[in-house]
């Protein structure tokens, strides 16, 4: 009997929707040739709650808590996109102090989200220690949220015309302490992960997304900046007080999983810098503009775009002059990143697929809506 090349045939493998590496209820229908992925069909919708339909049956203010449940890792950015669009239609502007507080909340959300990314991404690659580190630091932010808003995850603290409340006494001191603490901790992560040989082998050159392909798929955020495209809505279309704050738009030309990881690591340092500036510049004054209880914006439409931790989170609101929106469209960055996944994983092994999927930092809540 001669032993030559063993003929193989393609196998269809179901991954998820209950799988620890899919970061939620995502199902991938994979076509495998041995261990190599030749086809990938993401099956989404397991978490679809009909958010856009619900919005048409609620008042503007009533819809804010629903938006928290989209990207629940960073709920403030969803609040912000919806509130921005509504404020633009209704011609409302939040007082300066509220705008600074919003930026503090948004950037704390960004750091919390990126910490979860580092934690889960490392865990996907079997670095369990880093997982515990990431959640340890995030816990301090959760405590800050709880101290200010009473909630840890779904804060709903960005309101039409302002924020839910002023920061409580002692918050500024605790926030400063967190900012001073995070930098050295990130240096620890660099020693533990960024230079780690196994981590590098699993991420460098893996899942390459060329910049022009990323733009064609409407990728955004760290996924696109990890491919060297310096597109950041805080700079491109500044909202709130971002135009008064100094920060770098972080890019990386590696276009691979490592590039996307490095962008998020550096963005956390930039966010710390932004929060410190906000705390230093924080003006006195009101935190809520006068807004009618039953808001009836005049007929029109507006598009609120926010740089969420994942990318462009946008809200397209159309009003017919009534108390409920005529249409609310929720544009989620992860949805577009998932669409690009099949092209990114083709030709890579199953284990690499887990790394590539992890490097996109998706949240199913905003994909399925």
């Amino acid at each position: 009997m001669s032993v030559g090349l063993t003929p193989t045939e393609q196998v269809i493998l179901n991954m998820g929707p209950q799988h620890p590496s899919t970061h939620g209820v995502l199902r991938l229908r994979l076509t495998l040739d041995g261990e190599v992925v030749v086809g990938c069909d993401p099956v989404i919708g397991y978490l679809h709650r009909g958010m856009e339909k619900i919005a048409e049956n609620r008042t503007y203010a009533q819809f804010i808590p629903y938006t928290d449940r989209l990207d629940y890792i960073s709920s403030a950015s969803n609040n912000e996109a919806f509130v921005l669009a509504v404020e633009r239609i209704a011609g409302i502007e939040a007082p300066p102090r509220a705008q600074y507080l919003r930026v503090i909340l948004l950037e704390l959300n960004r750091i919390a989200s990126h910490l979860v990314f580092v934690a889960t991404f490392a865990n996907d690659l079997a670095a369990t220690t880093a997982f515990l580190y990431g959640f340890r630091e995030r816990e301090v932010i959760m405590d800050l949220f709880e101290m200010w808003t009473g909630a840890r995850l779904t804060q709903s603290w960005i309101r039409i015309g302002g924020v839910g409340s002023d920061i409580p006494e002692g918050f500024e001191k605790k926030a400063h302490e967190f900012c001073r603490m995070l930098g050295p901790r990130l240096d620890e992560y660099d020693q533990l992960l960024t230079g780690n040989r196994i981590f590098r082998v699993r991420t460098e050159g893996v899942g390459v997304l060329p910049p022009e392909v990323g733009v064609d798929y409407a990728c955004s955020g760290p996924t696109l900046r990890g491919s060297g495209v310096g597109f950041d809505l805080r700079r491109a279309e500044p909202y709130e007080v971002y135009s008064r704050l100094g920060f770098d738009v972080v890019t990386d030309t590696a276009c691979d999983c490592m590039g996307r990881y490095r962008v998020r690591m550096e963005e956390m340092r930039q966010s710390v810098h932004i929060i410190e500036q906000c705390l230093d510049q924080l003006p006195e004054g009101e935190v809520q503009a006068k807004v009618p209880r039953a808001l009836r914006p005049s007929a029109g439409e507006a598009y609120g775009r926010v740089e969420s931790p994942r990318g462009e989170f946008a809200c397209y609101v159309v009003s017919d002059g009534g108390t409920s929106p005529l249409r609310v469209r929720l544009r989620a960055p992860s949805f577009y990143h998932m669409a690009a996944l099949p092209e990114m994983v083709r030709g890579w092994k199953m284990g690499d697929l887990v790394a590539i999927l992890g490097s996109l930092d998706i949240v199913l809540g905003e994909i399925d809506r």
């Binding site: 064609d216 409407a218 495209v229």
Partner: protein
């Protein structure tokens, strides 16, 4: 931009209006693909969003194209019948149009001619009807 577009596409541009950084176009279905290609060639390479709006009296599909260099937007609206409507797919121009077109089909029932894989995306394959149409009640009584 508007003059060049009108010279190229002609009468199929029903209206054009500049609002801030947005150029809002109302386009006939026949000119949709040519219009998207025209914009892409002029730097509007980022297909930020494709969605639909049903006002109760009319329905339109809305395409938002953004130039990452200039920060300008082009917003293309195309009218479509509320039942059995169809439009040419722009997946040949933008890869990123694939999933949003599937979503508009899934929730509004608009068929995209030339789409490589037009099937439901958020709802189950055996779902009946298109829930974001105004004819579908938000809550069952």
């Amino acid at each position: 931009m508007i003059d060049n577009l009108k010279a190229e596409i002609g009468e199929d541009i029903e209206s054009a209006e500049q609002v801030g950084r947005e150029l809002r176009l109302r386009v006939r279905p026949a000119a949709l693909v040519a219009c998207c290609r025209f914009c892409k060639e002029r730097g509007y390479r980022y297909p930020a969003d494709i969605t639909a709006v049903d006002t109760g009296s009319e329905m339109r599909v809305v395409y938002r194209l953004v130039s990452l260099e200039s920060g300008e937007h082009v917003v293309i609206s195309v009218g479509v019948p509320r039942t059995g409507g169809s439009l040419p797919s722009v997946t040949g121009v933008f890869k990123g149009a694939d999933w949003p077109e599937r979503e508009v089909y899934d929730l509004f029932g608009v068929r995209f001619i030339g789409h490589p894989d037009l099937r439901r995306i958020l709802l189950t394959d055996d779902w009946q009807g298109f829930p974001l149409l105004k004819t579908v009640p938000a809550q069952s009584k």
